[in-house]
Symmetry: C2
DNA sequence: ACTATTTGGTCAACCACGTTGACTACCCTA
DNA sequence: TAGGGTAGTCAACGTGGTTGACCAAATAGT
């Protein structure tokens, strides 16, 4: 083998596989529960919009993409009924983006499914090792300045 | 907060953030080392092609995408000089896809950078916790039938 | 040996998701 | 009131994926 069988290669592959499995399982379950159009990226967008709502520009900043990209994503999610737009009474330039009741339903169901998936990991690994895994990732995150503090992602 | 602040939400976010940080750091370094056009997806494609080469159809199967998508990705990587096509002497339908010397260079440098990044994680976390983290992810992987055994990904 | 089927590659149309650049409408401040 | 920054949108484009259709070559089954 030319080069890839080095220790460092395992880490990104395992992180990606773990993430993808979680997300794939989530969306298979969400499809069963009445949200077949919800795609992996949408969850992060709904999270980033948050219960207080936001604007396309701010959403772009939160997600690390351009305001144009954020605007197009909002368009799609509005078309699917997960987001809605409203005028800002105080500033006629701004258009508020809010999560609809359907969007909240998807978010709620995601939370439940994620909890169940985490329980399944805990059943295999043991609860303390799952917690240790999260702690370790969080440690690396803070050491390397991950962007985990994005507003709206965890509960802002 | 509506729903997201539940324990299960932390896991996917941490896995994604960890993966993205690793990949972002890798490509920043690769850009510095003469591979600015190499995008995150390309590494997986080069890995999947492997030193023995393959065909577009087989590549699609390995990556879990259609043969058309694989073909277009090969087109782009051929244009960038990372892959090359050749006729199959034994089967006139097949077109062999092979990694070029430039492709191998990118793969080799990726391996080195990944090793260095893993060392940085080990410096923060301690080597035994990085190993434990990998073990845990591997355990969950085998329990949940991850697709880590994709040919070419680890060194097939 | 000759059909019939499977397989590999490609073309076309389309969609999701991102980019930059240009432009309008609006707010704010000197 | 004139200027500058900000919010949103439009257009053009790139990338990475999808389906469906199609042809040519290999293979299987009489």
């Amino acid at each position: 083998m030319a080069t890839p069988d080095r220790p460092g290669f395992a880490l990104p592959l395992l992180l990606l596989a773990g993430f993808r499995t979680l997300i794939d399982d989530l969306h298979a379950e969400l499809a069963r529960q009445g949200h077949p159009e919800l795609r992996p990226a949408h969850g992060f967008v709904l999270q980033a919009v948050g219960v207080d709502g936001t604007t396309a520009s701010e959403l772009g900043q939160r997600l690390g993409v351009s305001k144009q990209a954020a605007g197009k994503t909002v368009d799609r999610l509005v078309a699917l009924g997960y987001l809605e737009r409203a005028d800002d009474l105080a500033d006629a330039r701004r258009k508020l983006v809010r999560v609809t009741e359907r969007g909240l339903d998807g978010l709620r169901r995601s939370a439940v499914v994620f909890d169940e998936l985490r329980d399944r990991w805990a059943a295999t690994l043991g609860p303390e090792r799952v917690a240790a895994l999260e702690d370790d990732l969080r440690t690396v995150a803070s050491a390397n300045f991950f962007r985990l503090d994005v507003p709206g992602w965890f509960g802002g």
